[in-house]
Amino acid sequence: MSFAVCLLLYAAVVCVVAPRLLPPLTRRGSAPGAAVAVWLIVLTSVLASWAAAAAVLVAYVARTWIRPDPLGVRECFAVLRSAAAGQHGMGTQIGIWALTLVVGAFTITLVARVGRSLLRARASSRRHARSAQIVGRRVAGVDGLVLDAPQKMAYCLGGRPATIVITSAAIATLEPPHLDAVLAHERAHLAGRHHLLLAATRALAASLPRIRLFTRAETEVAWLLEMCADDTAARRHGTAALLAAILALAGADPIPSAALGANTVGVCARVARLTDPDTAAARVRARLVLAAVTAVVVFGPVVVWAVVHGLTPHGLTPCGPFTA
């Protein structure tokens, strides 16, 4: 069994298991910061596995096939010898080359797509922020741009200039302490650089819409970041003010259910954890569980590596990707 194939299998297992296992653990928002970290670690480990598998396969093929230097030739003969000895059929070789092509093409496409998606998001977010800078009014006592609009909304845009936008309708609805809570929430997003994390998870989800791990990660991370910002706002302005703000703005112009994703679940979860906060013990427990999950995910590949290496002396052919 090849190391690259092990990595690909590991990534596949994570892709299947994580989107089922993680949401129940993180949804409640007991430790939102830690939960975001776990999601990011899981995503990174899958991406790193793909990249490593692609690198190993390409290196192997390059060594045995493309490069005509003495080492490569010897390597090639070794492969041929072992093929002749029946250890490795020609079919296996063709299989490895095909796998290399597929994995390499996939990796390149993914990088290109994610990159394009990130650039597009940055450009459009900048354009929006610049327009908001011009259209929005600066109002004394409001740390943000005020947009005259009938919708009750508040949002922030990362990047430079980092911008908080709040509509005149939202300001009219919110009492001053509640408005402060909303603005603190948005500032927490900007201070925590949440827009970068959102941009990354959104770009991945958009580039790999068929893989549930990435689409799930996008929504879950978005909710968890809201919870993080909620915690900061509540710490500064009190839970009651924040809840009142949510109530005031949730009564906004509801749009038809057909037009929405699953985001409402997020709002209800946010309200639930604010109204019925976890005990310190529950939070510690949540962190421990998340730490355990992280350990399994991170050390998974290490164990795979150790197992493969441990097995090689006992009869597995130490050739090409098998020892890389």
Partner: protein, 129 residues
Amino acid sequence: MARGFGDLEAVVMDRLWERDGATTVREVFEDMLRDREIAYTTVMSTMDNLHRKGWLSRERDGKAYRYWPSMTREQYGAALMREALDAGGRSDRVLAHFLEQISAEDSAALRKVLRRVGSMRVGSGKGAR
């Protein structure tokens, strides 16, 4: 207060939205001169930029141009709102909304929960924490 170039664009648009009809660079310049030290050429290039970006329309009037906003502030505001609402579930814009727009039923459910919580709080006299 306004330092960056973007801020200057905002100030110029502010002035033009407050005025009715078309305006020359000189008029805007004199108007701005009352509040701040500024060079005529700065105002001119700012307005030229705004024209290039589509914020201002202009028409030659003798030797000078007369400028006016291409759209009202409200129209631009509405366009931005549409963009922001649109971006809720899409990947090409990065907006973090305070609340995602929610459906009528969910809104009602949420209100019920919050009202219950509110009365619980008042009833038990626990306050914010």
